[in-house]
């Protein structure tokens, strides 16, 4: 069941489904976000940055939580696939964190008059970027990949304390960053026409992550199992 070969084959079948549903929700989200949703009465059209910024910020935290859970499982049961999940997620997680920071900056300039402020939300999100980069650097610095995987499992797990800090920063501290506009319970702060594209983009980015992490994990499985018979047979099949 949990064999790398089984994973490789199942992941290969799942990727096209993730890819197609990602593209469909992305097109729908962009269309609703740019053409259908009305301008904001206070922020005009600048708020459309939210359709990139908020889903990117959600992903930055979601992917980190996936990595921390995978880290815990790796440390306890030493499962190869969860080790691979951590390192396969790190670069896409770092990318979304970077995207959230830059789009936040591009939104902050016209709305707050500053590209950057050392507010609790922004600072803790920057810390998250450093955590991702630290995990990538640590993994590539250690030659033995099993040892490297254990090291990043620990780092991913320890760093997860930053996630609630990011999430509650806008409530715990007096921040310039606004509080959440989307809540699971309670009254929404946004009209439905503005909320629909946001949710579509949120789903779209999650599906994208699903496709990309599986693609990268498959490549990592090939690399680690390069001397096994099934990988040799697979490569020989492709050489013909």
């Amino acid at each position: 069941m949990g064999s790398p070969r089984y994973f490789y084959n199942v992941a290969g079948k799942m990727i096209p489904w993730f890819a197609v549903s990602f593209l469909l929700t992305l097109i729908a989200g962009i269309y609703y976000g740019l053409f259908v949703a009305p301008p904001d009465y206070q922020q005009g059209d600048s708020y459309r940055i939210m359709y990139i910024h908020v889903p990117a910020a959600w992903m930055s935290m979601f992917i980190y939580i996936v990595m921390a859970v995978a880290g815990l499982i790796s440390l306890v049961w030493r499962i190869k696939i969860t080790e691979i999940t951590i390192i396969s997620s790190a670069s896409v997680g770092a990318s979304f964190t970077f995207l959230a920071l830059v789009t936040g900056s591009l939104w902050g300039k016209p709305m707050w008059g500053a590209w950057w402020v050392w507010d609790a939300r922004l600072t803790s999100e920057l810390m998250l970027l450093f955590l991702y980069l630290g995990i990538i650097a640590l993994y590539s610095a250690i030659e033995d990949k099993r040892v490297a995987a254990r090291a990043i499992s620990i780092l991913a797990l320890v760093g997860v304390v930053n996630i609630p800090i990011i999430h509650y920063s806008v409530e715990w501290w007096n921040t310039l960053h606004q509080t959440s506009s989307v809540t699971v319970t309670g009254k929404q702060a946004m009209s439905t026409s503005m909320l629909i594209p946001l949710l579509l983009m949120g789903i779209s980015f999650k599906l994208y992550y699903g496709a990309v992490v599986l693609m990268r994990a498959r490549a990592e499985v090939l690399e680690r199992d390069r001397n096994t018979r099934w990988v040799r047979e697979l490569v020989e099949g492709e050489m013909k």
Binding site: I30, D45, S46, S95, T103, W107, V212, M215, L222, V235
Partner: protein
Amino acid sequence: MSEFLDMGGYAMYVWPSYGLAFVILVANWVSPLMQRRRILTDIARKLRRDKREQK
């Protein structure tokens, strides 16, 4: 159309956001594909070398 591109005067903030998102999405999609190709060619080269040595 030009009104749409102008984004109510916020074009210089809105479009770079969407542009960067596009670049990041494409880059993270292409990167594992290249990694996969690099690994496959690497393994194939090694297999051919092993076969020559056996002869």
